[in-house]
């Protein structure tokens, strides 16, 4: 266990190994580690960004959906309103038409009645004249008394 030249040899060898490590080992490992660190950090950031984008898209989709639903509701409401209106209108038209038909029918009936009345009146006048002829047996001049007979027929 003497102090020998081993001491100096070891010093030199030590320096060589340190130099080797400094030159050929350490920088490469640190470089790779730094790069990986950066890659991972970037990846995490990208993932976070994607998450944010996803949330944003979800929100946008929700908004679109809400809008569409609202629009659909409006359309349905509008259609319902229109339908009601149409029904109402049709009902009014139908009522009007009915009224008109009723009136026409009434007018026709009245006309018929009047015609029948006229006919009856004429027949009654004739019958009355016939009767009076039979009773008075020709003593009455048809021409002279026609005014009288017309008045009679008009009173019927």
């Amino acid at each position: 266990m003497n102090i020998t030249a081993t001491l100096l040899a070891q010093s030199v060898v030590f320096l060589i190994f340190v130099w080797f490590c400094h030159r050929f080992i350490w920088p490469f490992l640190r470089q790779a580690m730094r790069e990986r660190q950066k890659t991972i950090a970037d990846g995490l950031e990208a993932a976070e960004q994607a998450q944010k984008d996803l949330e944003l898209a979800q929100e946008r989709a929700d908004a679109k959906l809400r809008e569409a639903r609202e629009e659909a509701r409006q359309i349905v409401d509008q259609a319902r309103g229109q339908a009601t209106q149409m029904i109402e209108q049709a009902r009014a038209e139908a009522r009007e038409e009915g009224e008109r038909l009723k009136q026409a029918a009434a007018a026709e009936v009245e006309q018929d009645v009047n015609r029948v009345k006229e006919a009856l009146r004429a027949q009654v006048a004739a019958l009355a004249v016939q009767g009076a002829e039979r009773i008075l047996s020709a003593s009455i001049d048809r021409r002279r008394h026609s005014e009288l007979l017309d008045r009679l027929a008009g009173e019927l």
Binding site: T6, V13, F17, H22, W26, L29, R30
Partner: protein, 278 residues
């Protein structure tokens, strides 16, 4: 086991030394006595061999991971290596607040390399020496960090870096001023200088000796436990002991590697800091 306990321990604590014999010839030392006679002009071949091999292991494995490193999904090796790198990077950036691209790789190298060298302590103490013996190699210390040459060598490099960065950050005059005008007023500059000089020298000394002491003690206990394998009953007891000590040692080797790395960073951070004058 033919040898006595003393010889066994002695054998385990002797490095395989190559150097210049006192008579001028070069060769391996046949025993501890011859190794001692060689003086400074010698190399502990086993310590250096294992240290370099483990350092190369670190360099190769981490280089493979580094060259294959992608920003994509990491594989198992890359994951493990990156965990270490991240751990060291966090530790360094919490201690060292200045801009220096060398500090973190330095800490990583220290931590992994010292850990690997310490890890050799968990290999049962006889395996590799016995194998080496069978191959004709007389001595084989497999844990480089139990060799003070290795730990102090690293501490010396750290010390050189401390001096280098101190002078670079503060200038030679600024550095000397810091040593002389601190902690007492300027009149007591010599005393300051001695105090600060000791503080400065204590840094590499404690750094190297702490690692060496911990690992040497640990290794010694493993060797002592290994001595128990001579008898049946006591051998079983020794096995249990060895297992328990190894489990505890896992903590020690990791902790010591970490302490060496962190203290290096702390010392270098201090070298960067400009203290206010008194």
């Amino acid at each position: 086991m033919a040898e006595s306990s003393g010889e066994y321990i002695q054998h385990h604590l002797t490095n395989l030394t190559y150097g210049r014999h006192p008579d001028g010839t070069w060769g391996f030392a046949a025993n501890a006595q011859e190794a001692g006679d060689m003086g400074f002009v010698a190399i502990n071949v086993d310590s250096m061999g294992w240290a370099v091999a483990l350092g190369l292991l670190f360099c190769i494995v981490f280089r493979i991971a580094a060259s294959r490193a992608t920003a994509g999904v990491p594989g198992r090796l890359q994951n493990a290596v990156e965990m270490l790198v991240d751990f060291i990077d966090d530790t360094v950036s919490s201690i060292f607040n200045h801009r220096n691209e060398l500090i973190a790789p330095l800490a990583l190298t220290i931590f992994v390399w010292v850990f690997l060298m310490n890890l050799m302590d968990l290999v049962p103490v006889d395996w590799i020496p016995q194998l080496a013996h069978a191959l004709g190699v007389p001595f084989m210390k497999v844990v480089p960090t139990t060799d003070p040459n290795v730990t102090m060598g690293m501490a010396l490099t750290v010390f050189a870096l401390i001096l280098f960065y101190s002078v670079r950050q503060k200038g030679p005059v600024g550095f000397l001023k810091e040593l002389a005008f601190h902690p007492f007023p300027k009149i007591l500059a010599p005393i300051n200088f001695i105090l600060e000089g000791v503080t400065l020298l204590a840094k590499p000394l404690s750094l190297g000796l702490r690692l060496f002491g911990n690992l040497y003690a640990g290794e010694m206990i493993f060797i002592l436990i290994a001595l128990m394998y001579s008898g049946w009953m006591i051998g079983v007891f020794g096995g249990v002991l060895q297992w328990a000590w190894a489990v505890f040692h896992v903590l020690i080797i990791t902790l010591q590697a970490f302490i060496f790395a962190v203290l290096t960073v702390v010392y270098l951070a201090q070298a960067y800091e400009v203290e206010e004058e008194h």
